[in-house]
């Protein structure tokens, strides 16, 4: 008898895994839902560089809005990886997204795909006028607005103030001047036994390459997409010359060949190790290169507009992040309150002072508190105002991949056939643009 019962138990045990699995499958279904009169909104964010500042900001919001609870979901740090995660959720019409970050190049894509909610009703013209123009243009698609800009980025030239002073140079106005100065400083420094390169930037095959190359092309009077015809301008002389200049005078010359593998962090490393005279990067590099704990050149850094070619004018690629609201959100009102809060004067000010991020509201560029912490902002306002967006298209990711491939092929091989590569990239870009017409 006893024996029988035991064997029954044993037999039951055999099915234990099966029972467990069924239990696990059934589990989410009967998860208890907590009753609460608070509205929960879900905020999809990248991994921030300054988590403590974000903690403070969210703390203020919850204190002032006791009826709203914010759940933050943190995604990857890299823009491309974050894009893949976020679009995956939006593709599936996930209800778990209310508010999300958008990189400056995404609004047309998110608008056309129907993922981002048009905000015209909540974000009127009168309010939009208070933001930098470029940031509003970047968030507008077919006359409707899809995001509220939170902070802005643009390409800048960082230089070693001490070295330029020592050799009697002013910050370069043209790319040729920069090459000349870099060459001379490197030569003399090397005679003194110091190992240094002239220039550092981002030339790996990825999004940053498009920003870097665009700045050369535009500052030579070229265009990636021609304004009048809306077609590729890559095969025109100014664009071809600019690309050739990067291949022949920058890569492997004043810049180490390694820049072909560099994204932002690697290029900045070279600079803050004191191994580069010039660096092309985004404003965040200012704070880090002047931090004596991270940088060997703290206090020796200067910042300037990017150079241009003779006869052209300086252009910076426009970067920065916006907040959007999902079309599939159930809590649009609460979501909007959150977005309005994050992009308000005082939070942008706090963010600028504590995280060094450049605000999008024009008036903040006259704010003594911000300028005290970030003296370079006063000077950079010009650059921000003239910053130029990358091609605006819902198919921008496809265009970017074509550009990345073209630029990488053109500059990483000293014998590349630039005309041929440009022609084939142009054909593909025009084919993509035609799809959206």
């Amino acid at each position: 008898m006893n024996n029988m019962r035991l064997s029954t138990t044993m037999r039951m045990l055999k099915y234990l895994p099966l029972i467990l699995i069924m239990f696990l499958i059934a589990l989410p279904g009967c998860k208890e839902r907590k009753e609460s009169d608070r509205i929960t909104i879900r905020f999809v964010s990248w991994k921030p560089n300054q988590p403590e500042v974000w903690k403070e900001i969210l703390g203020i919001f919850e204190k002032e809005n006791p009826d709203i609870r914010v759940i933050r979901e943190i995604g990857p740090h890299s823009s491309t990886a974050f894009h893949d995660l976020l679009t995956q959720k939006l593709k599936n019409k996930s209800r778990d997204v209310d508010v999300f970050f958008m990189d400056v190049i995404w609004p047309p894509e998110f608008a056309a795909a129907g993922w981002a909610l048009p905000l015209d009703g909540m974000f009127p013209q009168s309010e939009r006028r208070k933001f930098l123009d470029g940031t509003i243009i970047a968030n507008t698609y077919k006359n409707r607005i899809y995001g509220v800009p939170l902070f802005i980025d643009s390409g800048m030239l960082f230089y070693r103030k001490d070295l330029l002073d020592e050799y009697g140079f002013q910050p370069p106005i043209t790319w040729n001047e920069m090459v000349k100065q870099a060459g001379e400083i490197v030569k003399k420094e090397k005679q003194g036994g110091s190992d240094i390169y002239g220039f550092s930037g981002q030339f790996k095959q990825y999004e940053g390459l498009v920003c870097n190359m665009m700045e050369y092309i535009l500052s030579n009077g070229g265009r990636i997409i021609k304004l009048k015809t809306g077609k590729s301008g890559l095969t025109e002389k100014p664009a071809l010359d600019a690309v050739r200049f990067v291949r022949d005078r920058i890569i492997g010359k004043i810049a180490p060949e390694g820049v072909l593998t560099y994204q932002e962090p690697e290029s900045l490393d070279l600079f803050i190790q004191g191994k580069a005279v010039f660096l092309r990067s985004w404003p965040y590099a200012w704070t880090i290169s002047n931090d004596p704990e991270k940088s060997r050149i703290a206090g020796k850094v200067g910042i300037a507009k990017l150079p241009h070619f003779k006869g052209g004018k300086s252009y910076s690629a426009l970067g920065g992040w916006q907040l959007g609201i999902s079309s599939y959100s159930n809590n649009i009102k609460a979501a909007w309150r959150f977005v309005r809060f994050l992009t308000s004067n005082r939070i942008q000010k706090l963010y600028a002072m504590k995280a060094g991020k450049a605000p999008t509201r024009k008036s903040l560029y006259n704010d003594p508190g911000i300028l005290n912490m970030n003296p370079h902002f006063a000077y950079m306002k010009d650059v921000f105002i003239s910053a130029y967006p990358r091609p605006v298209s819902p198919l921008y990711p496809s265009i970017s991949n074509i550009l990345q491939r073209y630029f990488s092929k053109a500059v990483s091989d000293p014998n590349s056939d630039i005309e041929k590569e440009a022609a084939s990239a142009s054909r593909e870009i025009d084919r993509i643009i035609a799809l959206t017409k």
């Binding site: 795909a113 095959q205 990825y206 180490p256 072909l260 593998t261 070279l270 990488s408 799809l435």
Partner: protein, 299 residues
Amino acid sequence: MRISINTREEVFAAVLLIPCLLFVAVFAFYPVLYSVWLSMHRIILSLPALGRKFIGLGNYVELFKDEIALHSLANTFLFVIISTLFEVLFGLVIALVIHRHFRGRGLVRAAVLVPWAIPTVVSSQMWRFIFNDKYGLVNFLFYGSDVTHYRAWLADPFFAFSAIVIADVWKTSSFAALLILAGLQAIPNELYEAARIDGANAWHQFRRITLPLLRPVLLIALIFRTMDAFRVFDLVFVMTQGGPADSTNVLQFYGYKKMFAEGLMGYGSTISVLVFVITFVVALLYIRVIGSGLMQGKV
């Protein structure tokens, strides 16, 4: 009506198989068939106005006219051939070594498995550091502390491609070694004893006994490695992102870009289906051409 015990057991067995079949259907057949279905449509996520248009084999026609796809296909083939060859070769050598009796063999056997145990993303990151242009180990080995000669290996199309092959060979040779070691252990010792009595030297023993008896295992290692190598993705994703100049762009990475970055669901699926078909055909070929004996049970 009485059901015989045998039938009852068969029914019971069939019932027990249902969950497993369901599992395979849901997680293997459905995704594959759905990919094939998607690949016959034009779906551009950011242009919903275009809808889901059925275009039959249109995407496939485009694929074979797409120079970048063909280039990445060629890259993939090159990668597969070179890396698989070295992996099986090194695997064989490693297996022969750790099959012998020596002091500390257990330790060495465990150590051999370490590369295989490390997740590819982690080892890719490690290799990226090893090939770094400023502090990489490779530079240190070649040039010591003479930093002025350090090279940017991953900036050079040829070396970047080689680096990916090397990283893959490093990681998966141990897997091949493991399979081959199991094969070695199945060879009866008497054969070697008899051969030795007949006066065969080590080379003869290897040629006439070890190699023929290892054939089925070598085949399995080849199949596994070839199919796995075709699906190479993480190495490229972490180490080079397909660059420089598209020299390390492989089919899976290209498909990922199309699908996840560009939102071309139809065309992206077409690339996935191509990878699937190629691996399937390769497996069939191996079994038909090399392994015909194996399948009939005579090795």
